[in-house]
Subunit: 223 residues, 2 copies
């Protein structure tokens, strides 16, 4: 069976968890904190980053959330997530990279640093200037989601794709940490509510990071 | 015809240029500085980043170097670069992400900031502490390349792949900026010399960034 090395607030691990569930692939979670990683974990991934998908029986190790998702796409037929023509697939990958890189860089990464890493590793107070800037940039990204969803039903087009799950994975971590304000983003908000109520999302919403309680509305699928 | 929006020292554009050449796809270069981007460029890529591959006749726009390389892989049979079994392909993508993200974060990005952006945009002196740290981390990455090449002929296995070109693209920019010291890395160095002497590399070695002369040995394929 696959084991996914992750921690509850790693957005890239969440993307993989969503893809695994949507595709009906069984897996178990193995907890790993990259800031305090075991030798065993470094042996699996010398870069010391989560997620890593490992199958000890068949000696398979997959590293990097996008490499993992591409592997799942190539090996599991159920629920294609990188779908359509080559051009449509490129658009899905563009959006996945936008959320994995820009949204993470602008919003999720700073929130995780200020509200998670400073609390449990660095034992320092969050910097309110950094938090304000992350929340301002979150609005710009939500504007872009509004615009995409005004043009078609899902982020990358008429069909649900990995772009939706990559975006929702980032947003869910930012939301857990109190960094998402939906005011003025009704369109993005209704798209997120639909994703959030999928069965694949359930285990993300019940997962907690010890010492860091989620924002009050976080697990409410109607909020 | 495809047009590639790039600037000479963008390592992600270099990865795409290598893939286009290896696959024999004709294209022309369009110069774009992301720190001073035109409205036309933002219309193509709202994230304002290079590379963008655009075909105005057929109205196709591709954004993100990895999305572009996956598209080329799916549409052009010549010279497969993401090749082999699903597991082998995952290993190629793991290494591409390692160089695109970690090598860029540790080495190429800081060198570009200190030696390029500070010179031509910020008009400030480079920070020698940052440069030293980038060069130290470059040694760690070259150690890892030594280790990979000790185990098989190319980075991801027995065959040349996109992993080799992603790595060489990053290294070529770091080398242009004087950040690569091959001392103690004979194995990695001979691998790089082989890549560097491929016809696809030629246009990268003659390209210059105005105001920033390359390190003296940069374009010498025997150095
Ligand atoms: N591109 C990678 C990013 C992985 C990543 O940045 N993981 C973070 C946790 S969310 C990590 O392990 N950071 C620790 C580190 O970089 O040392 C992926 O998609 O898997
Ligand atoms: N993952 C992207 C990275 C692109 C990227 O970071 N491009 C840099 C130039 S090397 C850029 O445009 N930076 C400007 C910015 O981020 O505003 C890719 O592979 O295309």
């Amino acid at each position: 069976m696959w084991q996914l090395y992750h921690f509850p607030l790693c957005p890239f691990s969440r993307k993989v968890r969503l893809a695994l569930s949507e595709k009906g692939v069984a897996y178990e979670l193995k907890r790993e904190n990259p800031w305090d990683a075991s030798d065993n974990f470094y042996a699996l991934n010398p870069a010391g980053r989560t997620p890593v998908l490992h199958d000890s029986e068949r000696n398979r190790t997959l590293v990097d959330s996008q490499a993992i998702c591409e592997y799942l796409e190539e090996t599991v037929d159920k629920t294609p997530l990188i779908l359509g023509t080559a051009l449509a697939r490129a658009e899905i990958r563009r959006l996945v990279a936008l959320f994995d890189e820009s949204f993470f860089h602008d919003v999720t990464g700073p929130l995780m640093h200020e509200k998670m890493k400073k609390r449990i590793v660095l034992r320092a107070a969050p910097d309110s200037g950094v938090l304000r800037s992350a929340m301002r940039l979150a609005h710009e990204h939500l504007d872009y989601i509004d615009w995409l969803i005004d043009n078609h039903r899902w982020l990358a087009g008429a069909q649900m794709s990995l772009a939706d799950f990559a975006a929702a994975a980032q947003i869910s971590v930012a939301d857990y940490l109190g960094g998402i304000d939906w005011t003025g983003h009704d369109t993005a908000h209704s798209w997120y509510r639909v994703i959030k109520s999928r069965p694949s999302f359930r285990s993300l919403l019940t997962d907690k990071m010890e010492g860091i309680p989620p924002a009050s509305h976080y697990a409410d699928v109607n909020a």
